[in-house]
């Protein structure tokens, strides 16, 4: 069983880390998120396969949920924002200079997850609602809040808020 799961991990890790990076906004939390979710999945691997779950989809959904349900994470990010130690990340997170990446970082976890599920995973509103266990209305409102706040931030960054 371990062999089978090991193989899955080996093949899926690059993609999952990339996905985690999109979800969390930094490499460190991405690695933590992927590791935590994979360990949980691995400890129930046989049962999961018996149920016929598609592992990659299952793991990605778990990651999105774990990210949203980290009830303290915004607070942690907030604290980190006060701490220049994040500059270690700056040296390594190669997206750091992207205004949109910075704007995304300011979104609350649920809004960010909705955006990632929509634009990274290409899911529909209904699919996002099902993945996160919320209503379609919530997905709609979270998306529009997220888009408005991204536009606002990008507008501020480019100065005039006009078309870019």
């Amino acid at each position: 069983m371990d062999e089978d799961f090991g193989e899955f991990v080996r093949a899926a890790l690059p993609g999952l880390l990339r996905y985690g990076h999109a979800l969390t906004g930094n490499p460190h939390d991405a690695a933590d998120l992927v590791q935590t979710v994979l360990e949980k999945v691995g400890s129930r691997w046989a049962a999961l396969l018996r149920k016929g779950a598609e592992p990659i989809a299952y793991v990605r959904r778990s990651m999105a949920n774990a990210h949203v349900s980290r009830w303290r994470r915004t607070r942690r990010e907030n604290l980190v924002a006060e701490l220049p130690d994040i500059s270690i990340h700056h040296d390594h997170d190669r997206l750091e200079d992207e205004p949109l990446w910075q704007a995304l970082r300011a979104l609350p976890p649920k809004q960010r997850a909705v955006i990632v599920l929509r634009y990274y995973d290409g899911l529909s509103e209904a699919e996002i609602a099902e993945s996160l266990g919320v209503t379609k209305g919530t997905v709609k409102s979270q998306t529009s809040k997220a888009m408005a706040s991204l536009r606002l931030r990008l507008g501020n960054l480019v100065g005039d808020g006009g078309d870019r």
Partner: protein
């Protein structure tokens, strides 16, 4: 260029990719086995020991974030010998339930400054609109706070100094297992990955908030539950 297109392009960016540590697979397998074993042990023994996931190893190639063994984002890494330099704060090394020595949760900024135990940070105002301080003996780094004051709530958060211990014997360097054993009755809660939060015995208004790396506590905070400095 629309925002939709920008988002799709960003999520398509090759820079989102992260290098995988060579031992990542083994790290994950080990962690999964540990969880399985723990679950069985619990199922068999039925002991209501708080089970908390332990972070270990790490799977992204090192070079991202802090090395797992290094302290988290406080200036403690740079802090010279704590005995020698944090002495002014160490009029007591008992951390909690209501403060550290003469520094008490809820006290005003002015009262705390008057103790002579703290000094303002070179970035005195935090992003959350509160006032950031450090212990007098600390080497200060810009924007790194050991104490935060809110105009409304007074001292809302302070960091344990190296060597300080809670009345239950927990401090920087304690094992995660010790934390869980000591605070079992208080339901150690998971925060974000690597964080734990627990009630403070003897102080219903406060939390202990810790960061765990490789099963070791690298940072311990005492904070007011009700505060307006950070979310």
């Amino acid at each position: 260029m629309s925002l939709d297109e920008d988002l799709r392009r960003l999520f398509d960016d090759e820079r989102l990719g992260l290098p995988v540590r060579p031992d990542a697979e083994q790290t994950v397998l080990k962690g999964a086995r540990r969880r399985r074993t723990r679950r069985r042990t619990l199922a068999v023994g039925g002991a209501a020991v708080a089970v908390v996931a332990a972070l270990s190893g790490g799977i992204a190639l090192s070079g991202f974030g802090r090395p797992a063994s290094a302290p988290p984002a406080t200036e403690q890494a740079d802090r010279p010998d704590p005995e020698a330099t944090v002495a002014p704060a160490a009029d007591d090394t008992t951390f909690g339930p209501d403060g550290l020595g003469r520094l008490k949760l809820g006290m005003t900024e002015a009262a705390a400054v008057a103790t002579g135990l703290i000094k303002a940070n070179s970035k005195p105002e935090s992003d959350g609109g509160c006032r950031g301080y450090n212990y007098a003996g600390e080497t200060v780094r810009h924007g790194y706070y050991s104490l935060l004051f809110s105009a409304k709530h007074g001292l809302v958060r302070l960091e344990a100094t190296p060597g300080a211990k809670t009345p239950e014997g927990i401090g920087i360097g304690s094992k995660l297992g010790d934390l869980n054993r000591v605070y079992t009755g208080n339901k150690v809660k998971h925060g974000a990955v690597g964080e734990r939060v627990t009630d403070v015995p003897g102080n219903p208004n406060a939390n202990y908030w810790v960061i765990v790396r490789n099963d070791v506590l690298t940072e311990v905070r005492l904070e007011l539950k009700d505060q307006d400095c950070y979310r």
